[in-house]
Every structure is written in C-alpha cells, then in structure tokens.
Amino acid sequence: MNEFFARGILSLLILIPLLGAALLYVLPAKNERLQRNFALAVALVELVASFFLVRGFSAESYNFQFSEFRNWLPVETGIHYIVGVDGLSLILVLLTTALSPLVLLSTYSSVQKNVREFLALFLFLEAAMVGTFVSLDLILFYVFWEAMLIPMYFMIGFWGGKNRIYATVKFVLYTVFGSLLMLVAFAYVYYVHAQLHGGAYTTNIIELYKTTAALPLNQQLWLFGALTLAFAIKVPMFPVHTWLPDAHVEAPTAGSVILAGVLLKMGTYGLMRFSIPLFPAAAIKMSSVMIALGVVGIIYGALIAWRQTDIKKLIAYSSVSHLGFVVAGIFALNTAGMSGALYQMVNHGVSTGALFLLVGVIYERRHTRELSEFGGLASSMPWYAFFFVIATLGSVALPGTGGFVGEWMILFGVFKANSVLGILAASGVVLGAIYMLWLVLKMFWGPLNNSENKKLEDVCGREAFILGTLSVAIFALGVLSTPVLEHAQASLMHLQKTLQSGEAYIISFENKNSQLGSEAPQDRVAASERNHP
C-alpha cells in the first residue's frame, strides 16, 4: 500500500477531482443535494489522500519526493510528465486540499443556479491547482497553469456579480499576456539547453536548473523578467495588480475564496520554484528592486484599501498589501524571509479566505456590500461579529495568530537584506491594522441604525462550522509554526545556500518509500537523454 502511494499518489491527487467532475454527470441531473454532497465527498477524499502525502514525506530532505516520471510527448522532445513535491509544494498542496472542502461547503447556499456545472468546474480547478504545484516539467506546469484559467473564467463570468464579464475577461487577458511571454522564455530555455547539450531537449526543471544558472547575466535578466512578469501578474504585484479588485469583487464567494486562498499563491510559488532557482544571478541582482516593488505594494494596497467603501473591495486590496509582504520576503533571499513568505501564504489563504466567506455571508443576507449600510452589527449578529473579529486579528497579524509569525519573519528577513526597505515594510503592518480595525469598527460597533440590519439572522450551523474551522486554524498557525515550517526548512535552506554560493540549484528526485530507491527516475531521465540523436 505504501509502495503504491509513494509511486502514484500525486497523479492520484490530480485524478481524483477530475474523475469526480466527470462522475457528477452520471448522477441524476435533478438531485442537486446529492451532487453537492458528492462533490464535497470527493474533496474530502482528496484531503485524506493528501494526508498520506504528509505522512510519507521526510522533512530532512530537500529533494523532490513522491516523484513520478512518465512519458508524455515522444521521448525526443524531452517533454515528460514529471511530478514531485518538496517542502514548498507540499504545504501549498495541503492548503489547496484543505480549503477546497470548506469552500464547497460554503456553496450550499451561495450557488443556486447551474449547480452541477459549478461543482464540476470547481473540481476541475482543484485538479489544475494541485497539478500546478506538483509539476516539475515546464510544459506540464504551463498546461496546468493555463488550464486553471478556464474554470475560473466561467466561475466569475457565469456566477459572478453585476460587472462580471468585464472582470473575468480582464482576469484572463492579464494572466494570458504574462504566461505567453513566460512560454517564450520557456522555449528559449528549452532551446538553449539543447544547444549546450548536443541537441538533447528537455523541459525537466532539475536538468534546466543546471543549464540556466550558467547563462550570462544579461540573458538571465531577460528570462527572469519574462517569468517574473507572468508570476507578478498572478500574485498580483504592484503595478500589474489591477485585475484583482475587479475579479474579487465580481467573483462568487467561492471563487473569491479560492482566488485569494490558492490562486494568488501560484504566483508566489512560481517565483520560488522557477524565477529564483532557474536564474539565481538575476534574482540576486534584482532582489532590491523586487523587494521595493513588494513594499510599494504593501503601502499602496493598504492605503487604497483604507479608502474603499465596498467591503469586498477593501479585502481585495488588503490582499495586494499582504502579497506585497510575501514578495518582499521571497526576494529577501534568506531563509527567514522565504520561510516567512511561505508561512504568510498559508496564513493569508486562511484569514483572507475567512474574510471573503464572511463577506459572502453578509451579502447573502443583505445583498449589499456597501460599508455605509452597516453599523452595530455586533448586537444583531454576535457570532458573525465574533468570527469576523478573529479573521481580522489573523489578517492584521496579532501576536498569537499565524500572521504574526509570518510577518515577523518576513520583516526580519527583509531587514537583513535591506534595512531601509525593512523599515518601510514595517509601516505596512501599522497601516494594515488601521484599515482592518476601521472596517470592524464601522461594521460592528456604534449604533444599529439601519432597520434592515436589526432582523438579520446570525450565522447558521454550517457557516459556523466553516468559520469555526478557519478560526481555529488562524490561532493554531500561531503556535504551530515550527511543525509546519520544518517540512519546508530543508528546501528553503538549500535554496538559500545555493544563492549564496552562486552555483546552480542542484536537486534530485527521491523516493523514500519505493523499493527502487532514489536512482530510478534519474536513470530514466538519463536513459531518455542518451536516446537522443
């Protein structure tokens, strides 16, 4: 059984949701309840399967584990189906599989039209997200990265708000623009590798890490720029963030949650998996610029968020600010900054996910998100206020919540890299507290003037369960930072060492639980390369 899981669990994690999406169409079309339950069950199975991943993962190693190497396109193209996880992707895969059931649970009330299509798209999206985090082949990664657009496009465009078409088209165009330039860069890397290796093509990143690190700096800078632009759009970093508020505001609640919770992390993940280790010299050269852009994002996002009158838009801009922290932490290029960034990705997923759910709850009841419509909600909806305050505390990084650990580590890392920018970034923490607490103040305290708010129903059991789980997670992350981060420690340490030494990022496949040992996949890589003319 262990053997089986070690060899195929990642493919299984991609296939389960896809299969679930297909099976939805076998179920009776009229019975929406059954379809919802089925989709939820699929997501739970996926979650359980991902626990096996954690159990079998060995935290001491920085290598790719559970790796699978299969032929996909003909061997001579060097494009293969390669998946594997290291500490970095493990945590993000877990974030995906853990958030998905909660989001599906939230759609029981929020999605009412074309339920089956929504669920199928959502499961397809989950498969694409997991696929993005585990693929170790440039083209495979690209396929998942782009395939993710299709369900998101339909989710925003079909189930979204008033201005949904504009938002969804903008979202897709922004992303595709970046990713096509990234594809050109991939093609270049692919070609350069073949040139340097006597015509042996490959898109296996383990091989490419060695090739690209040796490229001259100006080439590295161009390629780094192309990749980073694509990821920056996804993060989104200032100044390419403008699609995010639109997409968030117009998306249905489930879409917003998954967008904030997981999709944005695909950008920061891309930076850590591709931009930096592929082009280390360029990353070091550009680190201050990137930190500066991150810091601008922090402050800019916070200031804009402060001025918002639409609650959802406010939280969307707070995402820009929070992701600014993550980017700054990543480009501090030291272990503290990068672990903080990774941790902050998880925290942001949980706390902002909770905030979007909370906005969804109030929107379902009042059909408005205007801040001026609310006030004094704490007396009419005490439990709602309770959960909202907890999510806010997580978002403003109160000590005791996960956000505190993450932001503290990021600030520490950035300060070590560049003290001026570190100080500026720290100001973002204060700004973050201002606009979030101001939001809470306006919504929940003060007199309950609006008569419509007086008879509002408090959160129901299902909502309380979702929000309760997330609230527990916010505090749990505050104390459990060591056990979570130790999974990624080896990977991040290795990355930092590589950057310091100025050499290529050397990493390999490893299969602990497999009888074949760690050599098997590499042998096949080598064998496939020997076959080249």
Partner: protein
Amino acid sequence: MIEKNTLLQTRLAEILPSATFYLHAFPILIFLIAAMSALLLGVFRSDPDKPSFTAYGLSVAACLGGVVSIAINHVAPVAYLGSGFLSDALTQFGMLAVILGTLATLSLASCTNVGRNLLRAELVALLLTASAGLMILLSAGEFLTFFVGLELTSIPLYILVGFQRQSERGLEAAIKYFLLGAVAAAFILLGMAFIYLNTGSLQWSDLSRLNLDRNHPFAIAGALLFASGIAFKLALAPFHMWAPDVYQGANSVLTGYMAGMVKLGVVFALIRILSAGLRDSNGYLMWIFGIIAALSIIVGSLFGLVQKSVRRLLAYSSVANAGFFALAFAVLAYNPGSEISRQALIAYTFIYAILTLGSFGVLAWLEEGVEEDLDRKSLDGLGKKNPFAAFAFTIFLIGLAGIPPVAGFFGKLLILNSAVSGGLIGLAIILAMFSTISLYYYLSLITAMWFHAPSSHTAEGHLDVTVNRRMHWTIGMLAAASLVIGIVGPRWAIKLDQRTARQIAPTAQIGVP
C-alpha cells in the same frame, strides 16, 4: 521487329511508373475516379438540383478506400514520375488528413439543408477533385506537379464558392476569389519561371542550386513572387483581403474545408520546398516570411476585434493562424534542417484543420434557417438554447486561442519553439503579445454564448432529431479529437519520419532534365 518491340517496351518502362505507383497513389486515383463517376451520375439524374445520395455514398466509399489503402501501404520513400510524385511518410500522413477532412466535410454537409445543396452530383465531383488536387499538391516533388495540384484544388473551389447562384454574397465572393486567385496563380507561375531560369530545373531537389544573392536579382524576384502567391493561397497579410469576403460568402461547411484543408495541402508542399536545402545564406526568404508572419499576426489579431460577423471574425483568426505557419516557414527557410519547424508545421496544420472544420461546422449548424450570416449577437445565450453546440464551439475557440488542454496549445508551443530555435525571438514575442489580443475576440464569443441571456435572434440550429444526432456525432468527434490531441500531445507529428521530406532522389530520369 522484335528489336523494335523491346525498344518500345524499355522506353515505355522508363516513362510509365512501376506498378507500385498505382498502389501508392491509390487515394488520388480513387478520388479522381469517384469524381468522374459522380459527374456521370449527375447526367442521368432527372432533377440535377436535388442532392444525390448516390454520389454522397460513392464519395464516402472513396474516402474509406483511400484510408484502407493508406493503412495497408508499406511506407518506403520512393519517387515516381521523375520526382512528380513522392511517396513517403509525409505524403501518407497528408493524404490521410485530406481524406479525413473530406469525410468530415461531406458528413457536415449532409447534416444541414444549406449544406445538402453541396451534395448535388456535380458539386460532390468538384469537392472530390479539389481533394485529389490537394493530395497531388502535398506529394509533389517538383514545381509542375505542384502547380497542377494547386490549380486542380483552386478551380473547383472557385466554382464551389459561387454555387449558390441566388446568393449575391456568394457570387461576389466567387468572383473575388477567382480573380485574385488567378493573379496569385500567375505570380506563382512567374516565380517558378524565374527560379527555373536560375537553377535550370523544376525539381525541388535542385533548389539548392538557387542563388539567392544580390548578383542574381531574378532568383530573388522569383522567390518573392512565389512567396507572394503562396501567401495569397494561405491568406497571409498583406494578401489576405479576399479571406473575410470569401469566408462570409461561401457555404460554411465549404469555408471550413477551404480554411483548413487547403492550408494543410499548401503548407505540406512548402515544407518540402523549404526543406530541400535552399541556400538562403543572406536570409532573404527568412525576412520575407518573417515580415509576412508579423504582419499577418498583427492584422489578424487587430482586425478581428472589430468584426461583427462571426465568419469574418474567424477569417481574421485564420489570417493570424496562417501567420504562425509563416513564422515556421521563416525558420525553415533559413535552416532547412530544422526538425522542430517541420514538426510544428505538420502538427499545427493538422490541429488547425480540425479546429476550423469544427468551428465552421458549428456555424453551419447554427445558420440553419437563418438568412443572414451570424453576427456576435446571434450567439447570445447559445449555452442555454443549444448547450452541445455551445460547448463544442467553446472547445474549438479555446483551441484556436491556444489555451491548454485543447490541441491548439501544442501547435502554438511547437511554433514558438521553432521560432526561438531559429533565433526569431522578436517574432516570438510578437506572437505572444498579439495572441493575447486575439484571445479577446475568442473570449467575446465564448462570453456571448455562456454569459449573455438568449434573445429573439439567438440562433438555435434546431433541426429534426435524426439530423441533429448526425451533427452531434460529427462535431463531437472533432471536439473529442482536439481534446485528446491536447492532452496526449501531437505524438504522430513529432514521430513522423520527415527526413524523407528533405529529399528523395528520383528513380528514373525522363527525357531531358
């Protein structure tokens, strides 16, 4: 006397191809025979304006016969008739693609009322002749056969475009297509003549003798003229003007055939020409094709944005896509050994043919019962009214936009790889940027289908149940093909043994060179 006889026999044996020729060229021959028989059938019909299902059955049988003969044929690169007919993996694959495309066209035509007009005996004969011409085109190894094939394809298409005599738009399209096509044919002929002037041979294997440099202006003029003619046939900018009008005027099913299959035939022929080892050391041809490619991508992406008619929009999309082909031509012209470019061209033409046949098939379905051609508004809310058509159309559009997991992605990927391997990074970036722009109009169609509410002029494509089922099958097959290729990748195109595309020495020299 006996001596004379043997002399005649040896002479005949020199001129006539060996028996295996008939085996290898079987698909062409059977298509021509079927075309003739269909013509004859038409003579004996009492009402020639009615669709002839005998002719239809005959042509389907010819297609099946062709497929079987390709399946059992042994692929060994041989040249017949000088190098007039090359039989190799590329030919076999191209023929298979043409036959399948013809089959899909016939099947789509048989589904709709407008399309059934295409099944009149003489029109079926024309379609079969055009397909035979395409097969001659893609198996040619020298200029004359190439030209014969090209004209054998073009002339029936001029007629087919205008066959709806009562439709003004159709007639306009036919005239436009014919006049411009004739000019393009003249360009190609003149280009061939100039090239012959320089190399003294019509065989592509001698193209390596072509001196493309400043001291030989006629060689350059020849190459330029030839490239312009080809650009016209492929609807490459700035020779694309006819495409929107013709695509709009012709029967949708036929438009799919024109856009998809003709491109396939011409591209395959060009693969052979460019692989033959032109000495383009100054990069003239690369520049010509590079500029044409950039222009087509830009024009196709920008002009498509403002089109109201769906067919005109798809016409501009086909201009942009032809630009991708030209990009690979540019690389192949400079580096005839570029395997990546050949793979890219083979894969993308095939994928593109599937996507175009599919999308125009859907349009033909939707146009049923609508007098005018469809504009964007008539797609509003199609997802509600005819979810299957909307779903299939969405797949084809996503494919044309090049987003995985639909096949078009691999086409675009291979083209990009080819461009980068040829050092044309600037063009690759142009391709990337303008693909984003063209994505906007693909998205606007998808948006209209799924996110807009249906209105009174939404097309439905309601037909009777049995016909609908046939339409479902044909379009479903095309959509499934584009998804499957999009997931497993165009393996066949990459594995295809294209070494033979570069050169096959003629087995026998006939007459004077």
